[in-house]
Structures are given as structure tokens and as C-alpha cells.
């Protein structure tokens, strides 16, 4: 079946087409989600939302990009939306704890509880530091760095997903690396 025919079947809401879509994409979408949100339950919830969004918005898919790119775009947006919401919630809870003089139970400033089964226990602290530093990068840098370094996407794929030129992706990645080093240096300086 060609991609055009497959998209047509998806638009017709064919159950078989969605079975195939999930077989082909569930691992990829989940992989991207867990790269952005290092918590298995949260990542699965976001991945589920992605497929629901694909189901609801497939009629609006004009075919200007590949289906894969479109799905990854939805995935990235859903992850960013989740992170933004969680960060806002954290900020609100922090403000509330200040105003009510209550001591917050969750003192960490990271947006989720780290629960990444792919991280071995001895490296957990390193990864916790890394994920925190990534979450403090500007959004565009966070996206490019996560998609390339954690999700293993090529610059070309990232350029298509983010609608940027290849050189722009490279330059964002360069700045992301520099900023990440700065963030980590300041973190380790404060630690000791």
C-alpha cells in the first residue's frame, strides 16, 4: 500500500489502517515522548494523546510533508504542551506554598518525577542532572537537542519536523550544547 492510499484509509477511519499505524508508530512515538518526558506513565499518556490527535486531525492533513514528519510534529508539540503545563503547575504550587507559608512536599523544580526504565541506577543522578539542565534550555534548543541526542534523529529529520533549515538546526544545536555546558558548570560549581 502506498503512503497516499494509507492516508486515504486513515481519513476513512478504517480500523485496519489504525492497527497498521499503531504497529508502525507506537514505539517511535513513545520513544520521542520518553525522550522529552522521562517518565514512562506520562510518556505513554502523551503518546496516546498523539494517536487520538492523529485520528481527529487526519482530515486536515494536506500531505505537504511526509506522514511520519507530521506525526513527529504532533508528538513534539504534545510533549512541549505537557512540559509547559507541568511547569506552570509547579510555579503555581510554589507561589501558593510561599503565600500560605506551607512547606512544599515536592521540593524539586523538575516538571515530572523521573521514572525512566532505560536509565540504570548508578547513572540515575547524572541523568537527573542532565534532564534538569535540558529543561532549562530555551524551547527551540531543548527540542533540537532532545530530538538529536536523546531520540537519535538526524539533523535533516529535525529540520523537517521543526520546519527549519538544516543550517538553522545546526546552529541551534551548537548553541544548545554551549548553553548546556554553561548550565552544568554552574550547577557543579554550586554543588561544591
Amino acid at each position: 500500500m502506498t503512503e497516499t492510499e494509507f492516508i486515504k484509509q486513515l481519513k476513512l477511519k478504517s480500523e485496519n489502517a489504525y492497527h497498521k499505524l499503531l504497529d508502525d508508530f507506537q514505539q517511535k512515538v513513545f520513544g520521542t515522548c520518553i525522550s522529552f518526558v522521562p517518565n514512562k506513565e506520562d510518556a505513554e499518556d502523551i503518546a496516546q494523546e498523539v494517536f487520538v490527535e492523529v485520528f481527529n486531525s487526519i482530515n486536515g492533513f494536506k500531505g505537504n510533508s511526509k506522514l511520519t514528519t507530521w506525526i513527529y510534529r504532533i508528538t513534539t508539540n504534545k510533549c512541549l504542551e505537557f512540559i509547559r503545563k507541568k511547569k506552570a503547575k509547579k510555579r503555581f504550587a510554589f507561589m501558593q506554598s510561599i503565600s500560605s507559608n506551607a512547606i512544599s512536599l515536592d521540593k524539586t523544580n523538575y516538571f515530572t518525577d523521573m521514572n525512566h526504565p532505560g536509565i540504570i541506577l548508578e547513572n540515575k543522578e547524572l541523568h537527573r542532572t542532565l534532564f534538569k539542565a535540558i529543561s532549562n534550555l530555551p524551547e527551540s534548543q531543548c527540542v533540537v537537542f532532545t530530538l538529536h541526542k536523546l531520540d537519535g534523529k538526524s539533523y535533516q529529520e529535525i529540520a523537517e519536523i521543526t520546519n527549519k533549515s538544516l543550517s538553522s538546526v545546526e546552529s541551534v544545536m551548537f548553541r544548545a550544547k554551549i548553553n548546556l555546558q554553561k548550565l552544568l558548570k554552574s550547577y557543579y560549581k554550586k554543588e561544591y
Binding site: 480500523e15 555546558q181 552544568l184 557543579y188
Partner: protein, 104 residues
């Protein structure tokens, strides 16, 4: 206090830690869960009968209704009710002025 060499080494280790992350498999029931969710969603029925009733027309309709109400209110104020009742009373001989008493 750590030296800058040690800090740099920590930074390097942290950045290299990316490579040690293993692939996580999605839950075995994920597919079923998603399929169940998407095929149980009641389809939103987009009503086509009211699509012509755009916000502009809605606003114009509201303005018309308001204007008609104001006109009607003004007309009621200039009441002709008493005048009509008097005419009716006169024509049927019910008016006090025109009452003819048989017993004078």
C-alpha cells in the same frame, strides 16, 4: 571546593551519559488501549443546518431584535388604550356621559 578540571570532567560525564540511555519498550497493551479510545469516541456531528448563521448575521439579528423592542416599548408608552375603551363604551352606550336614566 572542586577544581575547574573536576567540574569540566563532571560536565563531560553528564553529557556522555546520554549515550547510556537504553531503549524503553512501550507497554504491551498500549495499542489496544489507544484503539479502544479512538474507536469509542462519539463522532462529533457537525450541524450543517446552522452554518449560514455566521457571527456577523448573529450580531445583526441581535441588533434588529433590540431595535424592534425599543420601538415597541416606545409605542406602548404612548398608550391609546383609554381612547379605545372610551370609543367602545360610547358606541355601546356604556359610557357614563351618555347613560340615559329611565327614572329621572
Amino acid at each position: 571546593m572542586k577544581t575547574s578540571t573536576e567540574i569540566n570532567s563532571n560536565v563531560k560525564d553528564t553529557l556522555l551519559a546520554v549515550k547510556t540511555i537504553k531503549t524503553v519498550e512501550v507497554s504491551p497493551f498500549f495499542k489496544e488501549r489507544v484503539l479502544q479510545q479512538i474507536f469509542n469516541i462519539p463522532e462529533e456531528k457537525v450541524s450543517t443546518s446552522w452554518t449560514w448563521f455566521t457571527p456577523k448575521i448573529q450580531f445583526a439579528t441581535l441588533a434588529c431584535v433590540l431595535i424592534l423592542n425599543i420601538i415597541a416599548l416606545n409605542n406602548i408608552k404612548e398608550t391609546t388604550y383609554n381612547k379605545n375603551v372610551d370609543q367602545f363604551a360610547n358606541s355601546y352606550g356604556l359610557s357614563k356621559n351618555t347613560t340615559t336614566l329611565i327614572l329621572k
